[in-house]
């Protein structure tokens, strides 16, 4: 449906040579819901603007259904778009806002209003049709913006941080609703967001961007369980992944990761290539993949509790080694049942195969491939 091929976008002007998007490739299937996720300045909004045709790629090609659209005007792309600020036309009523794209297609007024009414019913705003945008709440404005984007039956729906101006409870409702409507209409949808929870919850596939490049493009589960590189690993997940410096060692036929505090055997099926032996790596373990061991065992790691944060549905424990020699801080997520005290020494273990190894290159490639 949509292909982005080697897209590069340079902004000229004051910051000469600043590259917002750097060789981006992306394939989106028909009816798919894709999120572009990344920190601010990663190029996700620029990419969306290029899909809309409001910005033109410096080089590379954009295809809609195998048709090159680089030079197609926004108005001829048959897209619907929802903006962060909703961008409702302040001088028009809700009805005229929703009918605007239809009227611009020279549709008769009567028919346009009928379509506007039908779309507004889907979004349950048909009682607001005679109001002006300034008389609406944030949530209502958001629905009107959705209705306007959908009224013309677009082939592609672009959402630019559509929920960042809503309060957190409303966000959940709207999120579900957008998902439901998208399923119902089957419109290919691309959402830009910096909210990872939102991206993972709503989309079929997520493209994680950083520095104008796609870091990983995969379904949410895969991203979480098999981060392609250090950036994806550390960007996703809240509280963030623990990152510990280590070295790969070979002992007889076994491969081990040695850190200042503990050692970990790399399971047989995913042995590393010889070239990594003796090299430094980053060991990544998510806080919820650590557990508190009941009985101190050989394999367990002894650490002191530095701080306990109650998160409501669990507790986040920050641990350090007692003498501080290893200069290590580890976060562990556990349930509320455990009675713990600060300054207490505990033993922790790592759930089997629940760790990642990233090499020390700039890319920070994930070296392990667990099945």
């Amino acid at each position: 449906m949509i292909s982005l091929v080697n897209i590069v976008k340079d902004y000229d002007g004051k910051q000469m040579g600043s590259r917002a998007v750097d060789g981006l490739n992306l394939e989106i299937a028909k009816g798919e819901f894709v999120a572009l996720l990344g920190p601010s300045g990663c190029g996700k909004t620029t990419t969306l603007m290029m899909l809309a045709g409001l910005l033109k790629p410096t080089s590379g090609e954009i295809y809609f259904k195998d048709k090159l659209v680089n030079h197609v005007e926004p108005k001829d792309r048959n897209i619907g778009m929802v903006f962060q600020s909703y961008a409702l036309y302040p001088h028009l009523t809700v009805r005229d806002n929703i009918a605007f794209p239809l009227r611009e297609r020279k549709m008769a007024k009567k028919e346009a209003y009928e379509r506007a009414l039908a779309t507004s019913k889907i979004l349950q705003i048909d009682h607001l049709l005679d109001r002006k945008p300034s008389q609406l709440s944030g949530g209502q404005q958001q629905r009107v913006a959705m209705a306007r984007a959908l009224s013309k039956d677009p082939e592609i729906l672009l959402l630019d941080e559509p929920m960042s101006n809503l309060d957190s409870r409303l966000k959940l409702d709207v999120r579900d609703e957008i998902r439901k409507i998208q399923r119902k209409l089957g419109v290919t949808t691309i959402i830009v967001t910096h909210d990872q929870e939102e991206a993972l919850a709503i989309s079929d596939r997520v493209a994680i961007l950083n520095g104008g490049k796609i870091q990983q493009y995969a379904p949410p589960n895969e991203l979480f369980n098999h981060p392609a590189n250090l950036f994806v690993g550390s960007f996703l997940g809240n509280p963030p992944m623990n990152l510990i410096d280590g070295v790969v060692e070979k002992r007889a036929d076994e491969q081990w990761v040695k850190t200042k505090l503990f050692e970990l055997q790399i399971p047989q099926p995913c042995r590393l290539e010889e070239q990594h032996i003796g090299k430094a790596v980053k060991l990544g373990i998510r806080p919820h993949d650590l557990f508190i061991a009941e009985q101190p065992s050989e394999a367990a790691i002894r650490l002191q509790i530095d701080l306990i944060e109650h998160l409501g549905n669990g507790q986040l424990i920050k641990l350090t080694d007692r003498d501080g020699q290893a200069d290590m801080m580890i976060r562990l997520l556990t349930d509320n049942e455990k009675q713990l005290k600060e300054r207490e020494m505990i033993s922790i273990g790592i759930k089997p195969n629940k760790f990642h190894l990233f090499d020390m290159t700039d890319e920070g490639r994930n070296l392990l491939q667990f099945q």
């Binding site: 080697n6 590069v8 002007g13 060789g23 409001l54 590379g60």
Partner: protein
């Protein structure tokens, strides 16, 4: 990684499109600003006069400026008029805006004072000057002469426009131009956060230190702006003088720009008038360029966020 072959280039039609929007304005500027500017320069090297014959005379007109026996007085008039008017209208503008925006903030009286002071600048110049003509009328019909006559019934009416013409011109100009500065200064003062005053009060600051430490520093930019733009106005325009005294008596109230106007339109010495104008242009240009330096153009010019 392989990058695509050709970078995006705007088609010609889209490149030309913006010029279509500025075309009428650009044409006007070309014909009625740039062309007159060039023509003024050319004319200043000719002896164009009522006979309408154009002879190039080189720098004669400029030499004449330096030998014109009226010149010292006219330059002195110009400086006197511009500087005194500037100083007083700045003072009044500052005083009124501090009084209405700080001491009387939010009071009805503040609004009344401000509106009253705006009136002289709203009243059309031609109506405005009649009041000053009446006030200083040289016959016994004039207000001041009437009042004097009450105290000294035997005295003759005083011919004010012969005696203190410059003072009258200056006063009339001050009263009318103060409000322009007043509005800018009031806006700047009203944008000072209320918290600053409260904090100062808590710290036990006197009114004097509130004015000198909080208010005046925030007026630095508007004061600069008003100073330069008023100076440009006082040096180059002569409307009040033309209406009030027409430069007289003799040349007592003739400023440089009015002199240029008179040389051209009263005496028909167009070439010499153009040379004099050029001098005013030069002064105005220097002041204007100084004013322009106050603006941050990079901040003001933002690129389009839609690429055609």
């Amino acid at each position: 990684m392989t990058l695509a072959k050709k970078p995006y280039k705007k088609p010609l039609a889209k490149k030309m499109y913006p010029y279509f929007f500025i075309m009428p304005f650009a044409l006007l500027v070309l014909v009625f600003f740039i062309l007159p500017a060039i023509a003024t320069i050319i004319m200043s090297f000719t002896d164009l006069n009522a006979s309408m014959k154009i002879n190039f005379v080189g720098f004669d007109n400029f030499k004449r400026i330096f030998t014109d026996y009226s010149m010292p007085q006219i330059l002195w008039n110009t400086v006197l008029f511009a500087v005194i008017t500037l100083v007083f209208s700045l003072f009044f503008g500052l005083f009124i805006s501090i009084a209405t925006q700080y001491f009387l903030k939010g009071k009805l009286t503040a609004v009344i004072y401000r509106v009253l002071w705006l009136i002289p600048s709203i009243i059309p110049a031609v109506v405005y000057v009649t009041f000053w003509k009446y006030l200083f009328d040289p016959t016994e019909g004039g207000l001041i002469n009437k009042v004097l006559l009450l105290f000294q019934p035997d005295s003759d009416p005083i011919s004010w426009f012969t005696k203190i013409a410059m003072a009258i011109v200056i006063i009339a100009t001050i009263v009318s131009t103060t409000s322009g500065g007043m509005i800018l200064l009031s806006a700047a003062i009203s944008s000072i956060p209320e918290d600053l005053y409260k904090a100062a009060k808590v710290d036990g600051a006197s009114e004097k230190s509130v004015i000198t430490k909080i208010i005046l520093p925030s007026l630095k930019w508007p004061l600069m702006y008003i100073t330069i733009s008023d100076l440009i106005g006082f040096v180059s325009s002569y409307f009040f003088i033309l209406l009030l005294t027409n430069g007289g008596p003799m040349r007592d109230t003739t400023t440089l720009s009015l002199y240029a106007y008179q040389q051209a339109f009263n005496l028909k010495y167009y070439g010499y008038g153009a040379a004099l104008s050029l001098l005013v242009v030069l002064i105005s240009l220097i002041l204007t360029l100084w004013l322009l330096r106050l603006f941050d153009f990079d901040e003001m010019i933002k690129p389009s966020r839609i690429e055609d």
